[in-house]
């Protein structure tokens, strides 16, 4: 069994050495540079990492100390993690697009001694906060550009460190033996990495993960999805996020597959096509924007192409999922589907870079059922999982053959879950964390004395199937003044499944009825505007357009109808809504770095608008401070219109109508 083999190597550096010995000439990592894919084999990576580790020792990094990793997905940054782990130091990856304040907090809290960064921008950012980081002794960078005239006393090129390490290591057997000893000294119980959660509420928390638990979890899912050294992934999600670290880094080292790094964040789509990953993860919004782009392109395509596309997409809707699930399908359906694969699905998957995907996952948000089945009907084995940084990802996952849009699947291997009386989901898992770094208070809040971890999510197991359903954050599930249940996210998601709607924030806890803010999707609505000769100069103008209001109102009423069909949720129908004059933005603190809505902050910031939603006004004025990407601040103000919506009588019985939503 693969997992017993993996268990013997209880740290990532040991896994690296095993891969170098076992499959030394296979590709371990790729990165596109100057238009060409550069490849490193396991043996090469092992050599580089060892040299790098020795270089870090020479820089004074010691066992148990921390090193920050900041930047996009670059081989040298992943090597920084491994090199640090070789000598028992702890990598702390940080979101590269974090604003200086956020970054300062994490680096200070983690007491980092070194920071490995990608480019000048991050060097500048860290230097600007260095007075808050007394422990910081040096910065390592990947790309030299723009840094030539900097003071290099505390600034080192990663290439240089690796080179120094190599030179120091080569002629001195004792040094090599010392490094071997350092790697061997690493125990599974040691801290492997600290992942800071982006913090939907309050300060980021440093999730401490141990090497043996990380590897145990990854070994389970490698078996679960039958991953091996022939698989390929593209590491394009933030490397500070648990998903990237787990799915690509940890699983890659355990299974021995190759991880590719995109040329730049903007080229991911092309890189996907060129690499053709076999294992792929994306949050629902990525699938959504891909679909929107495909649909827009099809609208602009020639008549024949468009007709063919829609005809075969209909075929796929009818038979695709059944074929994927191995259900019985008439021969004519199979033939039509095969033709569709040849003419439409195959080329489409090729354009999206999905041709070789064997296992695809989505998680993080609820995914629209239509969206989910669209991809599955094309033959893409898209599944859902539910996970947390604290679990080192997997809590539940859908095995092949048990895939549904409305659940997150049964328990992942070796995971236990219990649901509290209040409905909160608790778990114990192979990869679960040791605690929050330097934060016993919040560790105690999250981990019960008997070792259960609170997820903060409300959910329930579906009777009969054992699939878990997540409704919302436990603390967010509120009640209207009437006593009716108000799960904001549940309502929001229903509305967000419309392509024209990008983001929704619903209010209603303790109020008489439910209202919401809407962000329109500028791509979809902009395209609609173009086709209908609606002219607009900005997001703000388009958002305020009466026809756009009309369109969103019809979506809201659709949602109300579907809510009315569910006895528990019928009270949560949306009575009034408005379309915000600006897009919610992480730079303004309205979204988290993982693009989740920060409800409390928004409620505070847009208080006048919420008041207007409840006092019956038909419009309201708002002005807000915004931060431009270069850090400058400005104010935008607007008069926002408010619309009333039709609601429906709540049906006592659920029926077939529920499906229609």
């Amino acid at each position: 069994m693969a997992d017993t083999a993996a268990r013997r190597e209880d740290t990532f550096p040991k896994l690296l050495a095993r891969n170098a010995a076992l499959r030394g000439d296979r590709a371990a990592m790729r990165h596109k540079h100057l238009g060409i894919w550069q490849t490193w084999t396991w043996k090469e990576v092992d050599g580089i990492v060892r040299a790098y580790a020795h270089g870090l020792l020479q820089l004074g990094l010691r066992r148990g100390e921390t090193i920050a990793i900041v930047g996009s997905n670059r081989p040298k940054l992943y090597w920084s993690m491994l090199a640090a782990q070789c000598i028992g130091a702890i990598p702390v990856p940080v979101y590269a697009d974090a604003v200086a304040e956020e970054m300062a907090y994490v680096l200070e809290h983690a007491q980092v001694k070194l920071a490995a960064v990608e480019v000048q921008e991050q060097v500048d950012k860290i230097l600007s906060i260095s007075d808050r980081l007394p422990a910081l002794e040096g910065l390592l960078y990947d790309e030299e550009r723009g840094l030539r005239d900097y003071d290099h006393a505390r600034l080192h090129a990663i290439d240089g460190i690796v080179e120094d390490g190599r030179k120091a290591l080569a002629p001195v057997p004792a040094a090599r033996a010392a490094l071997d000893a350092a790697i061997a000294e690493g125990k599974g119980a040691d801290v492997s990495i600290i992942l800071y959660t982006s913090g939907t509420t309050g300060r980021s928390k440093g999730v401490v993960l141990s090497a043996e638990r990380s590897i145990a979890a990854a070994a389970d899912t490698v078996v679960f999805d039958r991953l091996d050294e022939t698989d390929e992934v593209l590491a394009y999600l933030p490397l500070a996020w648990v998903g990237d670290h787990y799915l690509n880094f940890a699983q890659g080292l355990v299974a021995g597959f190759c991880m590719s790094c995109p040329e730049s964040p903007e080229t991911v789509q092309q890189d996907l096509r060129e690499i053709g990953p076999t294992f792929y993860f994306a949050p629902p919004r990525v699938y959504e924007s891909l679909l929107t782009r495909v649909m827009i392109r099809m609208e602009d395509a020639g008549l024949l192409k468009r007709k063919m596309f829609h005809a075969f997409i209909d075929v796929a809707k009818r038979y695709g999922e059944k074929i994927l699930n191995g259900e019985s399908v008439p021969l004519s359906g199979r033939l039509l589907y095969a033709l569709g694969e040849l003419l439409v699905y195959g080329p489409l998957k090729n354009v999206l870079g999905f041709s070789r995907i064997r296992v695809g996952y989505t998680a993080g948000e609820a995914i629209g059922p239509e969206l989910f089945s669209f991809y599955r009907s094309l033959g893409l084995n898209l599944k859902q999982l539910y996970g947390q940084t604290e679990a080192f990802l997997y809590v539940t996952a859908q095995p092949d053959g048990q895939i549904r849009a409305d659940t997150v699947g049964p328990l992942a291997p070796n995971v236990e879950v219990k649901i509290t009386e209040a409905g909160e989901v608790l778990f114990k898992s192979p990869g679960m964390f040791l605690g929050y770094f330097r934060d016993e208070e919040r560790t105690a809040e999250t981990m019960t004395s008997d070792g259960w971890v609170k997820t903060g999510d409300a959910g329930f197991f579906e009777t009969g199937t054992g699939h878990l359903k997540i409704i919302d954050r436990a603390k967010d599930v509120g009640r209207l003044a009437t006593g009716a249940l108000f799960p904001p996210k549940y309502v929001e998601n229903k509305l967000k499944f419309f392509p024209n709607v990008k983001e929704v924030v619903a209010f209603g806890d303790g109020r008489d009825f439910v209202t919401c803010f809407v962000n329109i999707d500028i791509t979809a609505v902009g395209n609609w505007a173009e086709r209908n000769n609606v002219s607009y100069g900005s997001y703000q103008e388009l958002a305020a357009h009466p026809q756009v209001y009309e369109m969103i109102a019809s979506h809201v009423e659709e949602v109300n109808r579907s809510l009315a069909a569910e006895p528990m949720m019928g009270g949560a129908q949306i009575k009034r809504f408005l379309i915000l004059h600006k897009e919610l933005d992480a730079d303004d603190g309205e979204l988290t770095r993982t693009q989740k809505v920060r409800r409390g902050f928004i409620a505070e910031r847009y208080l006048p608008l919420i008041d207007a939603l409840y006092d019956g006004a038909t419009e309201a004025d708002i002005s807000t401070e915004v931060t431009f990407e270069d850090g400058r601040k400005g104010v935008i103000s607007a008069r926002v219109k408010i619309r009333d919506c039709r609601t429906w009588p709540v049906s006592a019985e659920t029926g077939a109508t529920e499906k229609a939503a």
């Binding site: 596109k32 540079h33 100057l34 238009g35 550009r145 723009g146 030539r148 005239d149 040329e263 730049s264 903007e266 080229t267 092309q270 431009f628 990407e629 270069d630 400058r632």
Partner: protein, 268 residues
């Protein structure tokens, strides 16, 4: 990227690279430039500013040989000339971008920037047709150079896109890339930030400063955004109605009363 123009002509940083002396240009009876003199020193960023119709673009067109002045002379790298063809200006090391972007719209970003290497390619026609031997090696070498520019300007994602399909801000960036591919000694930028949003402007400023700092390229630019001019340039020459009204550091120029009257104080 190699350093373009490393002063082979014996011109050191700080020396005058290009001098404009008493240049006048007229179209029919309309005077576009009247008796303007100024110089551009090796390694500096020189801004040419002025209200609309002040003759700034005409001045650039004179420098790179699109227009031929009726009077005055231009000295480039110590060599005086009265008229010049754009082709010759390019081969002597003057590259430029245009106010309204002049790209090869049907060609990809890569081909556009490769076109900037035209003058640097000299392997024979025969070898090129065979795509063999020295010509192939040359092509690879130039491609590498161009890829470095693409990396520098962060336009990898649009490498293969026909530039006609790109948004304006990116077209401007590609045009800068094409000019850089010529490894110019003097880079003329005609309103490099026109029509850009704040973020694009910040990016473009960064690129201009990096080109100047890293490769020592001498840059002359026309720009409307006064903030940008003050941040970027070492010296500024101010034109109004085709005449020079001021010349000096950004601080000097912005304190100059005639400039304030003509330009800064007047909203346009």
């Amino acid at each position: 990227m190699r350093a373009p123009g490393d002063g082979r002509q014996g011109i050191m940083a700080g020396d005058v690279l290009l001098a404009v002396e008493g240049v006048s240009l007229a179209f029919g009876g309309v005077k576009a430039i009247t008796d303007v003199s100024f110089d551009i020193r090796k390694g500096e960023i020189r801004a040419i500013i002025g209200p609309n119709g002040a003759g700034k673009t005409s001045m650039l067109n004179v420098i790179n040989g699109f227009y031929h002045p009726q009077q005055g002379r231009i000295t480039f790298k110590g060599e005086a000339r009265k008229r010049m063809r754009p082709y010759v200006a390019a081969s002597q090391g003057i590259a430029r971008t245009f106010q309204n972007v002049a790209l090869f719209k049907g060609m990809s970003t890569l081909d556009n920037i490769m076109a900037g290497r035209t003058l640097k390619m000299n392997k024979g026609f025969f070898w090129q047709c065979l795509r063999y031997g020295p010509a192939m090696r040359e092509e690879i070498e130039h491609r590498k150079f161009v890829e470095e520019i693409i990396d520098f300007l962060e336009i990898q994602a649009i490498r293969k896109t026909p530039v006609g399909k790109l948004p304006y801000g990116l077209q401007k960036r590609v045009e800068l890339g094409r000019a850089l591919a010529m490894e110019p000694e003097l880079l003329l930028l005609d309103e490099p930030m026109a029509g850009m949003n704040l973020e694009e402007k910040a990016d473009m400023s960064r690129f201009i400063l990096e080109v100047s700092a890293q490769y020592g390229t001498t840059i002359a630019l026309i720009e409307h955004d006064m903030g940008v001019v003050m941040d970027l340039s070492d010296r500024v020459v101010v034109l109004e109605y085709g005449r020079k009204i001021a010349d000096g550091t950004p601080a000097e120029v912005s304190a100059d009363q005639s400039v304030i009257d003509a330009y800064l104080g007047v909203p346009h």
